[in-house]
Amino acid sequence: MFHEFFRWLAEDLGKSDPDGLSWSQAMHGSLNLWNLIEGTHVLAIMFFAGTIWIIDLRMMGFAFKSVPFSRLNDKVLPLTIISFAVMVITGMFVFFGRDPLLYYHNIWFRGKMLFLLFAVINIFWFHYRVQKDQETWDAMVKPPAKVRLSGAISATSWLLIIILGRFIAYDWFYCDKVKPGSLVYALEECKSALSYLDDIPEEEAPPDGDAPADGATLEPAPAEDAAPAQPAPAQPAPGNGG
């Protein structure tokens, strides 16, 4: 659907001369910049998911039972909101600076975005509907069902967002590995992902070819191997300046 836009983002944006690199490719090739931003993204979940779960647990009646919801929420939420902003901003750079097409045609990334949408819709539902009569349930040890449901949706969504986000790094379902015509092939829009093969055969490496370069991203090895294979941390050639 948006393949052409993300291809432009990946390959054309910021490219000043035909032999040069786009901004995305320059960041992909940087020595540490992408790693630093991705590391910040991952570490920020301590501040974000950790604190939002505490609020969710209160909504479900599992933690801080003797403390009114508002007293917890008013103090913790500013922290959660600021760290959410950090997560979104760093996340956008992580997406941009690796290879936007690799994420765009990735089943886990698509699942993550879906649950992100759920989580955001739940926030609006909670804010504009559930929270309307907050004073009636604020001090309840076990708030009404709608509050518990909203808390459960939030907690589950963020749990799945973390798990699916971690799975993006695995190449099980990269477009060049899935069978044409299969469900995953359709869900990832692999037809457009691999369309470059029709136009310019064997000129460039496939956009999905290079696995994310962190060594922790690894594909579980076949059982006969001693350990999950650690691909050599493919540190791409320095993009600029060198």
Binding site: W23, A26, M27, G29, S30, L31, N32, L33, N35, L36, E38, G39, T40, V42, L43, I45, M46, F47, F48, A49, G50, T51, I52, W53, I54, L57, A63, F64, K65, S66, V67, R71, L72, K75, V76, L79, L159, I162, I163, R166, F167, Y170, A213, D214, G215, A216, P220, A221, A223, D225, A226, A227, P228, Q230, P233, P238, G239, N240, G241, G242
Partner: protein, 273 residues
Amino acid sequence: MDFSKLFPGAATWVEGLPKTWPFVYLQDVYAPFGALHLVGLALLGGCVILINLRLLGAGLTEETPSSIERNLRPWLITGAVIVIGTGLIIGALNSSKLYYSPAFFAKMVSMLAALIFTFGVANSVAKADGQISNNAKIAAGIAFLIWLFALGVFSTATGVNPGVFHVITAGYAILIIFGSKLSRLAGLVAFTVLFLGTFVMYFFVGFDNPDKIYQDISRYALIAGSLMLIGLLGYEIFRGKAEAASPLARLIALFSVLSWVTVAAGGRWIGFS
């Protein structure tokens, strides 16, 4: 520094570890443990941050530290069990790589400090609403030295040391959360200059290469950023603040969070090195 230098005799055992029970059965289901490790980190991190921010005089200021500690204890322990349990599995399955990894060594040393801080010091300080027993003081001193050693290993290991940036980031984040208006502003400006500076240097000036001059400039910029951070945090901690605990309790709270951040940053940079 890494475990292969400390325990050179363990090489055979380390290499055979993925083939031993129960890890040999877990190789095909490796990925979910890696993901759960992050889930545990988030839960543990959230609890650690809320308890220690309270000791610093921020966050849940309407509750007493002891009430927060009591309410979060089950979740803190759950997070710690998840993160250590899954960590053992992914660690054993990656044993050969970790054996030679300075990032992993720094992570383990810092974890020792973090465990002492969280379960040996900060919890007892929170339970006593800011009072620090003599035992807690001794444990805090030991944990602090261990953490400094971990930080030293982390920041001097080539290829891994950029990960120290995350610890500095977390330090600025804590400053901006609990500091006074002036410190917040100064912290925000200093961090923005540091971060945007890094960004601009990498992207537009072309600092992205291992030439000594560029490496030195990056290093001194980071050292300046760290010194500024230490100064601002020090000012905030030793300045009297009504809803916070004593300066020593606040130092303990600060190092409790930063030692866990060092553990997490070390973990992430195992993969990047």
